[in-house]
Structures are given as structure tokens and as C-alpha cells.
Amino acid sequence: MSEIVGLYKEDARRMVREMDAAINRWEEVHAGGPARKDLRRLSHQLRGSGRTYGFRNVTRISKAMEQIVQKLERQHLAADDRTRSALVDKIKRLSKIFQEEEG
């Protein structure tokens, strides 16, 4: 398993960078554009793969992100600064996990 975990970490770092790029296009997230779809897809994928590869906290954080994006889609949550901050915080936590793994 360890032989593919290294590849997973590389994938996950790239995905977190893509999340970061998406959140920086907040207007698109707000308007339901490609950036929101990217956030949904990436959080969904990391939620599914995280614990499968032994990273339980990645699944936990990504699941919370996916739920936020789903609430945005259903308009159960406003696309305001508070929501953005919550997503940014989670992306930072994911980034930190894989930076620590790198180090």
C-alpha cells in the first residue's frame, strides 16, 4: 500500500492547490460557476479517497467542505465572507496535513 500512498499525496497536494485556486475565484463560487463545481468535485473526491488511503482527517475536513458547498448550491447558506472564511480555513488545514507529510 505504501507504494501508492506516495502517489496519493502528490495527487492530494495538487487537488488542494486547485481548491485554493477555486476559492480565489470567489465571484464564480458565489454565482455557481466553474469554481463552485471545482470545489464540490475536489472535496467529494478527497472525502472518498482520504480515509481509504489512511488519512481520516482529510475525509473529515473534506466532508465538511462538501457539505458547505452543497448548502451553497441549495441556497441554504449565503455565499458571504463567513462562508468563504470557513472554506479557506479548511483548505489551509488540508494543505498543512500534506505539507507535514511532505516534511
Binding site: 507504494e3 496519493y8 495527487d11 473526491q45 472518498g48 479517497s49 482520504g50 480515509r51 481509504t52
Partner: protein, 149 residues
């Protein structure tokens, strides 16, 4: 030698990290004939071409919903008998029910325990081989009537 070594599997998954783990698990079980698809269209094409002993199918695909892929396969007499295990992050009960009603033999929710899934796949393939009394014949396993979640 593994008794499922000659089996053919198609994996339909758009996340490369998950595709890699499926390939790893199947290789661990001695299964070498693994074809991958990253979209619903590719899954249909690969399944029709290779007539696998088993299809592992994600529900959230870039081009279409996995459920519609499953329904297309079950509506096609050349692929109807091919067993499908859905492996999805969609965990709502209605998603599971819809997939099982459409003909999936099992529904595995992501994230999953890799070794457990590997063993479940091997057990399933061994069972169909025993039931047919020979090597699994691609595309013609006994019709499954359901499956444990």
C-alpha cells in the same frame, strides 16, 4: 495461484487516486486483466468490448450519472448479465436503493477499507466461478438477485 486470476474487471472511476487503489487491490488478489474508464461513455464502451466478469462503477462521473450508465448496461442484452458493484461517495439511502433496484449487486460507500473491499471482490468472483463450475466466463455469470450493502 489465485482462482480468480483469469477474471476480467472494468473499473469506472474519474478520480485517479481511487483508480490506483482499485488497481492495487485487484493486483493483490492476482487479477491482472483490469481495464479502466474515467467517464460513463468510456465505461459503456469498455464493458461492451471486454465483457468483464465484474464492473466497479462510480456514481459521480464527469459526463453522466453512474446510475444512467448502470441502467443502460442492464437494458442492453449483451451486457445485462455483467455484475456491477457500485462504489460511490453518495451515501443517501435513496441513492443506494436506486442503484440496487437498477441491478447493482452491491453498493460500497467511499471511503472504504481497502483490504475489506479486495476480499469482498475476490469472494464474489470465487462464488460466481463456483456457481458456473468453471473459469468465470466474461459477461455470463449467473444473474445476481441482490447484494449486501
Amino acid at each position: 495461484m489465485s482462482d480468480v486470476q483469469g477474471c476480467t474487471i472494468v473499473v469506472c472511476e474519474d478520480d485517479p487516486a481511487m483508480t490506483r487503489i482499485f488497481q492495487f487491490l485487484l493486483r493483490q488478489q492476482g487479477i491482472r486483466n483490469v481495464f479502466t474508464a474515467a467517464t460513463g461513455a468510456e465505461a459503456l464502451a469498455a464493458t461492451r468490448k471486454h465483457k468483464p466478469d465484474l464492473l466497479l462503477l462510480d456514481m459521480m462521473l464527469p459526463d453522466r450519472d453512474g446510475l444512467s450508465v448502470l441502467m443502460d448496461l442492464k437494458n442492453d442484452e449483451t451486457t445485462r448479465a455483467i455484475p456491477v458493484i457500485v462504489v460511490s461517495g453518495k451515501e443517501a439511502q435513496n441513492q443506494v436503493s436506486q442503484a440496487m433496484a437498477a441491478g447493482a449487486i452491491d453498493y460500497v460507500i467511499k471511503p472504504f477499507e481497502p483490504m475489506e473491499l479486495g476480499v469482498r471482490i475476490k469472494t464474489f468472483l470465487s462464488t460466481i466461478r463456483s456457481a458456473s463450475g468453471s473459469e468465470p466466463t466474461a459477461g455470463s455469470p449467473p444473474a445476481a438477485s441482490g447484494g449486501a450493502r
